[in-house]
């Protein structure tokens, strides 16, 4: 009955970057091959994505086999700056919601505004899902990706499956 499937995305290389994004954003973007994300947004190019996390934190997502090289390049390029880049690929898990009902699933769990005007392609939303921290974005049409900490991965999967099983909110039943 559900019009949404919940699945775990495969392994993903993830790098946490801390620094003044105004200062180092272009350096990171140059290495990542993306644009610099504005506040609350994500820029992607192919399988790589560069997401704004806070005024002094960003997250780079990329295929796992590209991680070592990119991290090395980042550390070299950022050496002259007050900045930090560190591998956090194992600290988080990523889930995918696939299907037109993704908004109904998320709306049961997050206080974030999911209306198209507030949350569409290119937005990277840090918020919570029920009782834990999470972030999500729309890498493709009708697909939402959600990041949460690894330790609560089972909890988040259960949450998503439970919310998806409840079906569409639907129009007013007559």
């Amino acid at each position: 009955m559900s019009e949404v499937t919940v699945s775990e995305a495969g392994p993903r290389g993830m790098v946490t970057i801390r620094g003044d994004l105004g200062e180092i954003g272009r350096i990171v973007a140059g290495i990542a091959g993306t644009a610099v994300p504005a506040t609350g947004r994500v820029e992607s190019a192919g399988a790589r994505a560069f997401a704004w996390m806070s005024p002094d934190e960003a997250l780079l997502m990329l295929p796992p086999d590209e991680l070592a090289e990119v991290l090395g390049a980042l550390n070299a390029a950022l050496a002259e700056h007050h900045a930090l880049a560190v591998d956090v690929s194992d600290a988080r898990v990523i889930f995918r919601l696939n299907g037109p009902g993704w908004r109904d699933v998320l709306a049961r769990l997050t206080p974030a505004d999911l209306r198209p005007a507030a949350f569409g392609a290119g937005v990277f939303r840090r918020t919570r899902l029920a009782q834990v921290a999470a972030a999500f974005w729309l890498p493709e049409a009708q697909v939402a990706e959600l990041l949460c900490f690894r330790s609560v991965g089972d909890y988040v999967r259960d949450l998503l499956e439970n919310a998806a099983a409840a079906g569409p909110i639907g129009p007013r039943p007559d």
């Binding site: 801390r18 956090v88 974030a112 900490f149 919310a163 409840a166 007013r172």
Partner: protein, 1003 residues
Amino acid sequence: MSSRLSHGGRFTNPSKRLEFRFNGKRLQGVEGDTLASALLANGQMLVGRSFKYHRPRGIVASGPEEPNALVNLGAGARFEPNQRATTTELFDGLVARSQNHWPSLEFDVGVINARLSRFLPAGFYYKMFIHPRPLWKHLYEPFIRQSAGLGQAPKEPDADGYEHLYAHVDVLVVGGGIAGLQAALAAGRAGAEVLLIEQSPHWGGRAPVDGVMIDGEEAGDWVNDALQALGKMTNVTLRDRCMGAGIYDHGYVLCYERLTDHDPDAEGPRHRLWRVRTGRVVTATGAIERPLSFAGNDLPGVMLASAVRDYIVNYGVSPGDRTVLVTNNDDAYRTALAVHEAGLTVSGIVDARAAPEGPLVQAAQEAGIAIHAGRAVAKVKGMRRVTGVALSAQAGEGAVLAEIPCDVVAMSGGWSPVVHLWSHAGGKLIWDDASAAFRPDAARAPTGADGAGFVIASGCANGAFEASAVLADAFEAGARAAAEVGATGDPGKAATAEAPEEEPLQPVWMMPEGASAALRRKAWLDYQNDVKVSDVELAAREGFESVEHTKRYTTLGMATDQGKLSNINGLAVLSQALGEDIPNVGTTTFRPPYTPISMGAIGGEARGELFQPLRRTPIHGWHEAHGAHWEPVGHWRRPYCFPRDGESVADAVTREIRQTRDSLGLLDASTLGKILVQGPDAGRFLDMLYTNMMSSLKPGRCRYGLMCSENGFLIDDGVVARLSDDAFLCHTTTGGADRIHGHMEEWLQTEWWDWKVWTVNLTEQYAQIAVVGPNARKALEKLGGMDVSAEALSFMGWAEGELGGIPARVFRISFSGELSFEIAVPAGRGLEFWERLLEAGAEFGVMPYGTEALHVMRAEKGFIMIGDETDGTVIPQDLGLHWAISKKKDDFLGKRAQERSHMTDPARWRLVGLETVDGSVLPDGAYAVAEGLNATGQRNVQGRVTSTYYSPTLDRGIAMGLVLNGPDRIGEVIAFPTIGGAPVAARIVNPVFYDPDGEKQNV
């Protein structure tokens, strides 16, 4: 007797019969009935007993304001008490029982209270049971608890599911009557995103019942047109069976949607709690009719006038053959006309006003109904139900002038706007003399973050009662709300209505005006909590001038209906008794929810497995599969020990310790906090955070450090590893990981914002495994890949490399006193690494050990544990940790605090080891007593136990404790009294029980 009419019923479908049970009796209703209308159709006027006097009570209302018709609904896992029959939609197979009666509804023993009612006035319990004090706890309270409460508590876990739903809209319209529809039309046409909710399953509110004409058509037709128009707007969402429960700050509104209450076998969640953020709220919540306060107004058969016509018009149910209407206003005449049109008898209209003559009055006259102007109901006749009314002059004390036999008394004291939602977030009210009611004061609306009002009241809820005024007001509200959230479209124009003109009402707070004391003692204000006019007057006489105090003293409005019918009448009576104007007395506070909402809806998805997030380490599944006995640590669950078949928990702990000390043990230490601190100022930063010097640590080395709060108290400890010149990895306690990371960020962001330091919490990036025991090195060498010899990796050193092909950071640190390596690997490979270690360690009999073995082994070594030896009042000096407090540093957090006189007081209790003389284990937390008594007559104490265990290594009880002058009293024996046993004698010893020279760990 109430009964089903052969015709009528806007909501009902007589061709579809539904079977239900009430108190075990099989009864029939029809589709569209509420439980209340179905009960009335079956002649069941008596539905419950009142709370205090066990008076017989019948259905009074037709909506959520109903105080009496509360039932225990359902059975087993679907049992729910205190459900209002008037808002419970009937379904086939419904089971309900009446409440608060014993042994039966018809014959109730508690009714004896009613005979004693003269002796059970307001405040009776307070006055009666306050002395003698000890009797309260043991006698009075258990007895009162036994007799209190209406419904029963459910006994089984709830079978249904619930959910929350977050929604963001521009305009939320609460109430689907003509006002709400008109407001939603205006806001929707203007282009705002609108959510319109209606608590009942029916749109249109009262207008169709009251025969209003809108834009030239019948109200019901206009409502259908409006719904169609709204349904076509993609920016408008409509939800029925969805109640506005509460309005909070910042446009936050809780709405309560009952999805399957009317169809319990349907799929999906039963209730949905909408958590709405909205730019503006339009409250179109209508009004509630007020009862009149006359003697016997609580007898079954006395109903609100509006309810009487609702049952006739909406449900095709006659509340009784002969109705007497008693009123102070024109609107109630609609009931007389409805009763008349249904072919039933109106035995008379009792109007408190001297000369009523509006169009509705004339219509009643033309219908041949007798109108008794200037008259009052002196009292209602009947025992278990109405048999008639005695009339008197409204002006007098109640001398009976005439009696009219009847079955139903339909009463109306005017209408009170439903101002609850308006008031929840701070909206203020003004008193409207014309309608004798409180209504929202638009100048003092609940304000949002920008200081502007975010709630707009409309229609009857705003005190606009006449249909045309309702529509104009609601249109204005909807258009304004849309404009204020930036919608620029054309809201269209307001619909217009035709309805007979109404003359002003006459406020009537007591009937008759000068009712005698005997009558006032029988005139009910609050049906559910049995509060009468005489009770409120007594409260006033006893000095309860504040309406809030009177409420609590009398319990007026404190029942599950929260005084929807009683509050205004009650405070009017209070104001009269105090000789004050009503607005000066004011109302009690309106608090959410508007009507009770289910606990399930509040909990939402958070039940069972989802009740609370459980944090799992990468090795959690293995622990689970291998029979871990769990211990909650923060949101984690860690193995306490791993009992084997038939083994006790204590035996398992002993086995794990012996194995680890003798050969090899493994601990999943993944939950320890791991915070990366990096930047040119990282060393300086850590020197401020830790009491010891961290900046002098060499890359490749580790150091144990202590963290204190600004007040000097120990807050966390752990090993710091220097990764490079400008990077440190700080290990924290399991519970401290997030807290200490926040602590670091707070100092960096608020005080030392110009220091060049970044922190990242890497706790979950790594699985961390402690490989412990004399054979630890051998096991790692079997995996291969790194030189872990004593020469290459000395005690308190760390190295990076690969072990068995898995990237690893190896810290040679020991919390057990044994040769020990703590190894961090990427979390994704944690389980693999754990299994490789088990394989490699097999020849050494490797065993996993849990937190209890960890605790015992650290205690054998005299290592402190945050949370055991510390409790927020302990400084490092108390624990003999002077060696970890730098004397060279100018400053660190806690330094100055630790120099305060109390902190340097030599009488502070200090850490020692404790050995019981008989070898037994001291009780945890036990206090050592000293001579004499303190100022409050308690025994003096001189120390307490902070950690206590059976040590398998030493085969005796060992403990640590804080003791007055402890370290100077080594060898002395002190006594620890136990609960219900003889005191235990314990010798003060050095806290390091095992391998004091560290020979075992340093190999």
